[in-house]
Subunit: 252 residues, 2 copies
């Protein structure tokens, strides 16, 4: 078994060596810029679930990279002036601010397509379908958010953040070709945990609605439910337990 | 065999009945708006190649619709103010002008993902890979165009227009699971023909560089090469010959 840090290093190497399609030409700079510097939580989660199910990280790396590219696509487009209008991301100019709006629209598009190209390197089309459904949820969530039309914050987070976490778990389960058991519950709770802690760290989202204390309580409950789901699985979930604890107590 | 008009009606019906993913929610209006009113040339080409190879249009319809969604995605994003800044498309407001920029960015994203979801309904991942490569070429071409960095007009057209025409042919060949023979040549020449006639009708592109007469000559040559490629194929290409002649003489 690899530690979470070792898995993260594998993801970082794979992303660094990713052969982007030659036809994107000079857009490659903006595309690479768009996926540099992330925490790689989703791909690490995917690899760790795969390894808990006895699958070599090498086998899951294309799916893991695809998840990170979808995540990066969403950030590059969400940061655009017409959407969230964020000129900073990960401590440096966001893609549109570093390049220009046209390049950011096209780089986001290319990130998305490269993700599907990676997902299509598997024998089965299951990963493409899983990733497509998750991405449509994220897009729908972002639209509700921008339009101020979300029914409630929990539903919105489930779409915008939760779907890709669920997909990170589901992609590993699909490659391992095992019964889902409580894996979907685990994916859902990890996604909720990540978002709640994000709100605590940023002082927004749930913190503004429910307050700091209630948000902390909900995050701890999500962590407990994630750990309970793991406990029911017939798999070596030691690294995943560490990931959940790391997400619950993270400070960045 | 179905006529081109019959194939177009099948495409129109399939697009009208397309079940978009429920998670896109109220964004569905902008997504449907984005693919309404097209001439459906690429999907009809795909179905006609499939039928020439003995495949039922039903079998090719998901691929055909995916091609039209990719084409629509490219128009919705290209029309954005930060790119070509077109407020009119197909005689009515472009998607961003009808809705807003944020909705157009997200609707374009959703069109792209729905295309891959359709391509992934086949047993093989070949269609997803084919469509992804074509789309990356289109994105790379649009980036060169916006940045004014294209080496020459023919290379640019090959990426922006040609790749998806080639892909329409290649998707049908992949589903029919036959040897490519001269099909790739046919796809390339039909794409070139379409773009040259577009320039003639709009009075731009090649017409501005080479003049009306030379552009007409090149279009006719592309049509001839497309017909020659068809003549070498072991397939019933009567409908395809009609399509080529229709593209060469079209007035809209």
């Amino acid at each position: 078994m690899h530690s979470a840090d070792e898995l993260r290093a594998l993801v970082e190497d794979a992303l660094g060596e990713l052969a982007l399609h030659r036809d994107i030409g000079p857009l490659e700079d903006a595309v690479r810029y768009g996926f540099e510097g992330g925490k790689r939580i989703r791909p690490v989660l995917c690899l760790a679930v795969g390894e808990a199910l006895g699958r070599d990280p090498e086998e899951l790396l294309p799916a893991a990279c695809a998840l990170e590219l979808v995540h990066s696509f969403s950030l590059v487009h969400d940061d655009l002036p017409a959407l969230d209008d964020d000129d900073t991301r990960r401590g440096r100019p966001s893609t549109w601010a570093q390049f220009d709006e046209a390049s950011a629209v096209l780089a986001g598009d290319a990130l998305l397509v490269e993700a599907f190209r990676l997902a299509a390197t598997y024998e089965t089309t299951a990963l493409v379908r899983e990733l497509a459904e998750a991405t449509l949820g994220m897009i729908g969530g972002q639209h509700l958010d921008v339009a101020g039309a979300a029914p409630d914050l929990a539903s919105l987070n489930r779409l915008k953040t939760g779907r890709l976490f669920e997909s990170a778990v589901a992609c590993a389960v699909a490659v391992a070709d095992v019964e889902p058991q409580t894996w979907p519950v685990f994916g859902r709770e990890v996604g909720a945990l990540f978002q709640l802690v994000d709100d605590l760290l940023d002082g927004d989202g749930f913190v503004l609605v429910q307050g700091q204390e209630e948000t902390r309580r909900r995050a701890d409950e999500a962590a407990e439910r994630a750990l309970s789901a793991l406990a029911e699985l017939d798999a070596d979930t030691s690294v995943l337990r560490g990931l959940v604890e790391g997400l619950a107590t993270r400070t960045v």
